[in-house]
Structures are given as structure tokens and as C-alpha cells.
């Protein structure tokens, strides 16, 4: 496998929520190890509230004002390695965002200025990034028809808005693309269309991170998958292996909950991120609890990792 272009090691993100007596510390990401490689689409899967979005915010330097981090996130650039967590705002603004890291935000329509046409905003983005790609080519990459350029954000359908967000993210031709829930609220055919677009971009040599709670969409296009639960990456590895033979009981539970698999929910609730139990966060709900030491540290077996001392089936 090729060398990773974005390498995250031991990432911890925490921040303060609330004021005075109601203040709590939220551990949104704990001990995350993740590699994004060129030419591969990695799906980051987890239910809403598990901390997935916070991970992308940490990588792009868009965390809320009260956040603190630990660990490293190293981006390989032609000019050497860049530590994203320590990079000053000027570096992030001028070198990283848009040029090295493209971000396709959740609910793209709300990230577009409502008073300007899509075309005007894309042209402005292109000019700002100095990329030199003609707008027409950008539209083609995002599979958007030409007439969308003249529309205002509120006139776009859900799918068009999402693809407009994708076009804006591609304006600087970044080698790494982070897509945060790009298919939320879209119809199945459109979900497949957008994920196919992202897979195509990965095939062109980019490293794509697809963040989603939609397991089926991930299963269709991902080369690698990372499963997140209560701020931890409980399992990572090549998608084909993980989806057919999951090691972590949570992954197995999620797969078993799909309509075509068994429709069996995982009993219980995920813990609050402000009150994580020590050790493995999944333990209270885990059917393998008896055979487990409760140690949540990730164990590596080849190109798969699992945060479980009692892998399913072993």
C-alpha cells in the first residue's frame, strides 16, 4: 500500500460546554489513529453524536473556541510534512484549506451565500485559490448541469446543493477530500450518485474521507473503513474484510441492524461524550462482555486494527 498522505496518530479532542455549574468537558475524540492514502476512499462510520464531525474540524482547524487537542495529524505536502494541529491560522488559510484539504460540508446549501448565484461563488472560490481550472470543468467533475450556475442556493434541490458543495471543495484541486455526511437527507438513487462521484474522485488519485452514518452507502464505495463509537475508532481496515467479517462487536451489531441483514438493533444507548466510562465505552452494551478485559487500546493485526481485547470469533 502507498504511503498515507494524511496520518493521524493518537488524536484527542476535548472541549468545554456550558457555563458555570453546568460546565462539562466533552471528550469528542479519543486516541484516534487513521491513515488516508491516495487513490483510496475511507469511510468513517458512526452514529450521530459519536464525534465524527469533530475529527474533521480538528483536521481543518475549525474547532470551537474552547477546544484542546493532543496527538498529531500530519499532512504530506510536496514541500514537506505539515503538522495540522499546530499549524498557525495563516498557514491553514493560505496553504491547507481548499488547496491541500478540500472540505465538503454537511448540508451544503447552508454553506453557500444565499444572496449570490452558485456560479458567482464558484468563480470567486476559483479566483481566490488561483487554481486556473475553468468553471465548466469543475461543474463536470461534480456532475452538475450548466444551468445550475445561474441559480441561487435556495433554488437548488438537495442533490444539486450537495454537488455544488462538492464543486467548491474541488476548486483548488486538493489531493485530500473530506466529505462530512454528503448524503444526509437524499434519496437512495441520489445517495448512490454522490458516493459514486466520490469514488471516482478517489480513483483519480485523491485520498477521500467519507463521513457518514449510512452504513449501506459506505459499504457500496469504501476501500477502507473506520468505525467510530463514543469518540473512539473501534475498528479500522479494508472495507471488504471488515464488512464481511467484522471483529468488533459494535461493528457486528451495526451490520446486523441493516434491513437486509436482520433488522436487529444494538440494545441500549451510547454513552454521553461528557461522561465516558473508563475503559471500553461499548462494554455496557457488549454481548462479549464476559470474555473481555475492558481494555480499549487498539490492537493491530496486519492492516486491520480493533479496539477490543476479545475479537468476535477469535
Amino acid at each position: 500500500m502507498s504511503a498515507p498522505v494524511l496520518s493521524v496518530r493518537g488524536l484527542d479532542v476535548a472541549f468545554r460546554v456550558g457555563r458555570g455549574a453546568r460546565a462539562r468537558t466533552v471528550r469528542a475524540v479519543t486516541g484516534a489513529d487513521l491513515d488516508l492514502r491516495p487513490g483510496r476512499l475511507t469511510a468513517l462510520v458512526g452514529e450521530s453524536g459519536c464525534g465524527k464531525s469533530v475529527l474533521t474540524e480538528a483536521l481543518t482547524g475549525l474547532l470551537p473556541a474552547t477546544a484542546a487537542v493532543r496527538g498529531s495529524a500530519t499532512l504530506s505536502t510536496p514541500d514537506g510534512d505539515l503538522e495540522l494541529l499546530d499549524a498557525p491560522e495563516s498557514d491553514l488559510r493560505d496553504r491547507v484549506r481548499g488547496r491541500l484539504l478540500g472540505l465538503v460540508p454537511q448540508s451544503a446549501a447552508t454553506h453557500l451565500t444565499p444572496t449570490r448565484t452558485v456560479g458567482a461563488q464558484l468563480r470567486e472560490t476559483l479566483a481566490r485559490l488561483g487554481a486556473g481550472i475553468p468553471v465548466a470543468e469543475l461543474m463536470e467533475r461534480a456532475a452538475l448541469p450548466r444551468h445550475v450556475l445561474e441559480l441561487y442556493p435556495h433554488e437548488l434541490s438537495g442533490g444539486q446543493a450537495q454537488r455544488a458543495g462538492l464543486a467548491a471543495a474541488l476548486a483548488g484541486d486538493p489531493p485530500v477530500l473530506l466529505a462530512d455526511e454528503p448524503t444526509a437527507g437524499l434519496d437512495r438513487p441520489l445517495v448512490e450518485h454522490v458516493t459514486a462521484l466520490l469514488a471516482g474522485l478517489a480513483d483519480e488519485g485523491r485520498a477521500v474521507l467519507l463521513i457518514t452514518h449510512d452504513l449501506r452507502a459506505a459499504r457500496d464505495v469504501a476501500d477502507d473503513v473506520a468505525v467510530m463509537y463514543a469518540s473512539r475508532l473501534v475498528e479500522t481496515g479494508p472495507a471488504a474484510e471488515v464488512f464481511t467479517g467484522p471483529w468488533h462487536p459494535y461493528t457486528a451489531g451495526l451490520l446486523g441492524a441493516l434491513p437486509d441483514a436482520g433488522f436487529t438493533p444494538v440494545p441500549g444507548h451510547p454513552p454521553e461524550l461528557s461522561a465516558l466510562p473508563p475503559g471500553c465505552p461499548f462494554a455496557p452494551r457488549c454481548p462479549e462482555r464476559e470474555r473481555c478485559s475492558g481494555d480499549p487500546e487498539p490492537v493491530r493485526h496486519g492492516d486491520r486494527t480493533v479496539s477490543c481485547s476479545g475479537p468476535v470469533g477469535s
Partner: protein, 309 residues
Amino acid sequence: MSEHTALAPRGTRPERTDGWRPAGRPRPGSPRGRRSPGRVRLVAGAAGLALLVLSALLVPRLGGLDQGLVDYTAIRLPPSPAHPFGTDSVGRDVLLRSFAGLWVSLQVAAACAVLSTVIGTLFGAVSGLLGGWSDRLLMRLVDAVNAVPHLLLGIVIVALYRGSVLAVIASIGLTHWTTVARVVRAEILSLRSRPFVDAAVSGGASRWRVLSRHLLPAVLPQAVLSAVLILPHAVWHETALSFLGLGLPPHLASLGTILGEGRQAVLLGSWWIVVFPSVLLAATTLCVAGIAAWWRDRSLPRRRSEQAL
């Protein structure tokens, strides 16, 4: 959960011993660290207003103000240690009178603000909820009331009922409610098509229940904010009426009355009779505006860090 995290506001030295470092970047518009400018405004405004109100209540009493007592030996004395704001054309101490007048002005303004807000909220809520042609009709009524100059309408009302405090309150209250009505109606319109109203209707709620339990409480912050913003207007409006001699009766002298009486004195060189009450008026308005600004900023959508992950 026993880890110590160095969650320090920007600008302070983080502890690097356990590897944690601050990573949040304040974005334009969001408060930087703990001391946000809005808080300064609130503290200054609230403190100032509290000071002014307390003074308005206590100073005349402590100073032994008697509005009816005239002292022709002390006419139009400039500011001195005995009379810090000087005396007016009949020898009364301007300091004591100003604070007494401030108290009257505040009471009248508060009554006007409450009246305007109540009328405006009910109007806007009913209009927004009814929708259709009733809404359009009611809004044309709002436009009509708005089209008439406030002061003119106010003058007409007080001229009909000279010397009546209620007339003064009515003249201001009946002209300033239109902004509140518009704001409340806009809020109601945006809320009434949201699924949570549908859910309430499906649960068997009547129109009145939806309005009183779900919609009005949601617009309450906006309505109260409007009330607070009306206060300075009401103070100025009443001041104008009293200045023209059309406002409150002489025994209920407000700041406006004092300013009106001081008109002549200014031409004779006694600037203190007009300047000091005006400064009090401006200070009150600024304090109220400061509190209102803090409230308005605070009711903006929640900061990202407090939203669900």
C-alpha cells in the same frame, strides 16, 4: 473522567507537560475568550441603570426636595457645592428636581413600553397565526398607524385630554406598538409552518393552546427585547410632549417638563438648567441601550460548541 486538560482561553500559556494544547480558533463574530464585549456592555449598562434608578428614588428624598417651595433669593444660581447642578428660575435645586423628574420619566416610559408590547404582541401573534386575508388586513392597519407621525398623533391625544397622565401614556403606547407587532408576526410566521406545530395540532391542541403554549413563549424573548428598546423612545417622546408643555401636569414634573421650563432660562445664560437634565436623559438611554444590545446578542443562535456533535 479525571484527566486534567489545559482548556485555557486564548492568550494564556498552556501547560505542555501532558501534551494538551488549545486548538480552538475564534471565528469572526464569536466572542473571544471569556470577556466578550457584550458582557462589558451588560455590566456597564446594568450598573449604570441601577445607579440612576436608585438615585432617582433616593436623592430627592434625602435632599428634602419640595417641588412647591420657591426661594426667590436663590434664583438661577450656577453650580456650586451647595447646589451641584445649580438652581432654576424659582430657586429650586436642579439636582434634586432632575432626579425626581427622572423617576417620573422612567415610570411613564415603563408603562408605555408595557402597553406597546402587549398590544403589539397580541396583534402580531393573532395576525401571524390567522394568516390569509385577515393577516393582510391587519398589516395594512399597522401600516396606517405607522404612517401617522408619532408626535403629531400624540399631541392630538394629549390636547384632547390635557393634564391627564393616562392620556400621555396612551398617546405613546398607542403609537409605538407597530414595530413589536411586525417582529412578533415575523417570528410567528416562521414558526407556524414548522413540524412541531403540526405535531401539537395532531396531538389535539386547539389554536389557542398552540399560540399560548408553543408560539408565544418562543416569541417572548423578542417581545421583551422590543419592550426594552421602546423604553428610550418612550422617554424621549414623553420628554418632547412635556417640553412643548403638552405633557404631564405641573405637579408631576418629568425631565421633559424641567427642560421645557428651562427654555427661557438658557437664553438668559443659565445653561445648567438644561444641560444636566439632558445628560441624565442621555445616560439613561445609553444604559438601557447597552442592556438591550447584550440581550440581542445573547439571543442569537447557540454557539457551535454547544450544539450536538
